[in-house]
């Protein structure tokens, strides 16, 4: 179904009753959600609002909580923002409805420590294998090293034998 750009505000409000829709530009909409509501929200955007494509998933450390932005883009962009605590941030994985989300969720896991429950790929996305667990580079409490400092790097077990 095609919705005109001018009709989107009403269509989105109808599809998400009771939610506050932030609109920063004629073509940009932002909706705040809890983790449990994510999968249904993605399906709603796909089925009722005609936007199929998931552009990317971006994590953010807002200092008092952690955010994951799911950008769905077509003629307009609807961003689903999932709010989580620092302590144990988890989101349900979209791997079964959006297979293209798998690499983005792995990056969330590596960089922010957000656990995508149900993601079939347990490998690291971009960090090296010997990167210590529990150190999440894009969180605000993780600082790049100054001259003479080093990231804590854990020895790999195989190298100890050599």
């Amino acid at each position: 179904m095609t919705i005109e750009v001018a009709d989107y505000p009403k269509a989105i409000q109808d599809a998400f009753p009771g939610k506050e829709i932030i609109q920063t530009r004629p073509t940009r909409f932002w909706i705040d959600l809890q983790p449990e509501e994510l999968k249904d929200a993605v399906l709603t955007v796909r089925e009722k609002l005609g936007i199929f494509h998931l552009a990317t998933i971006c994590g953010e450390d807002m200092r008092d909580h952690i955010l994951a932005n799911y950008f769905m883009g077509g003629k307009v962009c609807i961003t689903l923002r999932v709010h989580m605590d620092h302590a144990k941030p988890t989101v349900p994985s979209l791997a079964d409805i959006v297979p293209g989300a798998i690499p983005y969720e792995r990056e969330l896991r590596d960089m922010f420590g957000i656990d995508p429950v149900g993601n079939p790929d347990p490998r690291r996305a971009t960090l090296p294998e010997d990167w210590p667990t529990g150190v999440y580079p894009l969180r605000k409490d993780c600082h790049p090293p100054r001259a003479g400092q080093a990231w804590p790097v854990v020895d790999m077990k195989t190298e100890e034998k050599a």
């Binding site: 950008f71 297979p99 293209g100 960090l127 990167w131 790049p144 080093a150």
Partner: protein, 400 residues
């Protein structure tokens, strides 16, 4: 894994591409039955580094994510910051920015056609196409001062203007190139040795491309009608007339056709831009240095597909979060899937058909070893002293 299946790694050193990425293929005989990829070798810490730099330094840094699509990243970032600041670009600035976008698309697609021809062994086409690419690089150099990493963007517009002589020169270049591109379109689609090598190879059905969120010419060759220039227009595109090229071939031949026809469309767009270039300013004057708190998402149609930049500002002169999602990241899973069922000899062309740019895809942080393993951190000064000492010791030459 049964005993008939062998696992071969390709990469990370020179995986038939000039960038580092590791692929693992499971093969049975000559046929590929499984494929995985591992990135991270070109990760440089850009997103984290942007949080320590002001917006103009970020612009400088983000340009260097990639050499081929450098203008994509600066334009997308500028657009995101301009959205937060609510800036309206003057028409001439917008047109000039779009002109460099399309020239970049020309040079990138010409590069890809040459590289694709090289991967299948058609080196004559590679040489001819890259010779024509030189013409585009000269045009870019005359307008922006550089062949890559143009640094033409600033927040609020462009940095350099063009005079009438440059405008006429670029128009003439485009007219000359159009004839040669028609010739390449002819070869790319009709030359039997080339077509036999790429037809039916690396097939990605439409439904799969849609589910894996593929973007760009890769997706358009699988029948998906996605183009940010038309769907979510920016820059001068609302004023321009152009076609979005799609086809249903779903294989590498389809991707060649899409890119070659896009070259011709880009030439058309450049002619429209230059013939209708409006007068006026090239940039917004007095852009505030401190950006008020806000967030914005900018999408840009890079030569490889949809480039997304998300910027969150916090009232200071440094961004709070910059997220860059390069198009290759969206296409890589789909590309690796599309190789399954082909032969080992098709690996280079099939992966190259997404026009991969791993520099765009990896952005990570710096790791320094510490003393736990008995190695020390070598600083620049140490390297220099070591070098001088080595030459003195081994060759009796004193360099100090």
């Amino acid at each position: 894994m049964d005993k008939d299946t062998i696992w071969i790694p390709v990469g990370p050193q020179h995986p038939f591409l000039k960038e580092a990425a590791k692929f693992d293929f499971d093969i049975r005989g000559e046929v590929i039955v499984g494929a995985r990829y591992q990135l991270g070798y070109n990760h440089r810490g850009m997103e984290k580094a942007c949080e320590d730099r002001n917006y103009y330094q970020c612009l400088y840094l983000l340009e260097r994510i990639c050499g081929i699509c450098s203008h994509s990243h600066t334009t997308a970032f500028s657009m995101a910051v301009e959205q937060i600041l609510n800036l309206e670009l003057p028409k001439r600035g917008s047109y000039l920015r779009t002109l460099v976008c399309e020239l970049e698309r020309l040079h990138s697609h010409l590069l890809w056609i040459g590289v694709a021809a090289h991967e299948v062994g058609f080196d004559s086409l590679f040489m001819l196409v890259w010779r024509d690419r030189e013409v585009v690089m000269e045009a870019l150099e005359s307008i922006t001062g550089n062949r890559i990493n143009y640094a033409i963007n600033t927040i609020g517009g462009v940095r350099r203007d063009i005079n009438d002589e440059q405008r006429v020169k670029v128009l003439q270049m485009v007219k000359d190139l159009e004839k040669r591109m028609a010739y390449y379109a002819e070869i790319g689609t009709n030359e039997p040795t080339f077509v036999n090598r790429i037809k039916g190879v690396g097939t990605l059905p439409t439904e799969k491309a849609k589910a894996m969120c593929a973007v760009g010419p890769f997706a358009r060759a699988s029948g998906l009608d996605l183009d940010i220039r038309r769907d979510d227009p920016y820059g001068a595109y609302p004023d321009l007339e152009f076609k979005v090229i799609t086809n249903d071939m779903c294989d590498i031949l389809g991707r060649v056709v899409v890119r070659v026809l896009e070259l011709l469309e880009s030439c058309k767009i450049i002619r429209q831009l230059l013939e209708n270039l409006p007068e006026g300013d090239i940039a917004v004057k007095k852009v505030p240095r401190k950006v008020p708190a806000g967030f914005a998402l900018a999408r840009y149609e890079a030569p490889r597909g949809e480039d997304c930049h998300y910027v969150r500002s916090n009232g200071t002169d440094k961004p709070d979060r910059v997220k860059v999602r390069a198009p290759t990241m969206a296409n890589l899973e789909a590309a690796v899937e599309s190789v399954i069922g082909s032969f080992v000899a098709d690996i280079p062309i099939a992966i190259a058909s997404i026009d991969p740019c791993f520099s765009c895809t990896d952005r990570t942080t710096v790791v320094l070893n510490d003393d736990k393993r008995g190695r020390k951190i070598t600083t620049w000064e140490d390297l220099r002293k070591n070098g001088i000492e080595w030459y003195r010791r081994e060759m009796g030459i004193s360099l100090s």
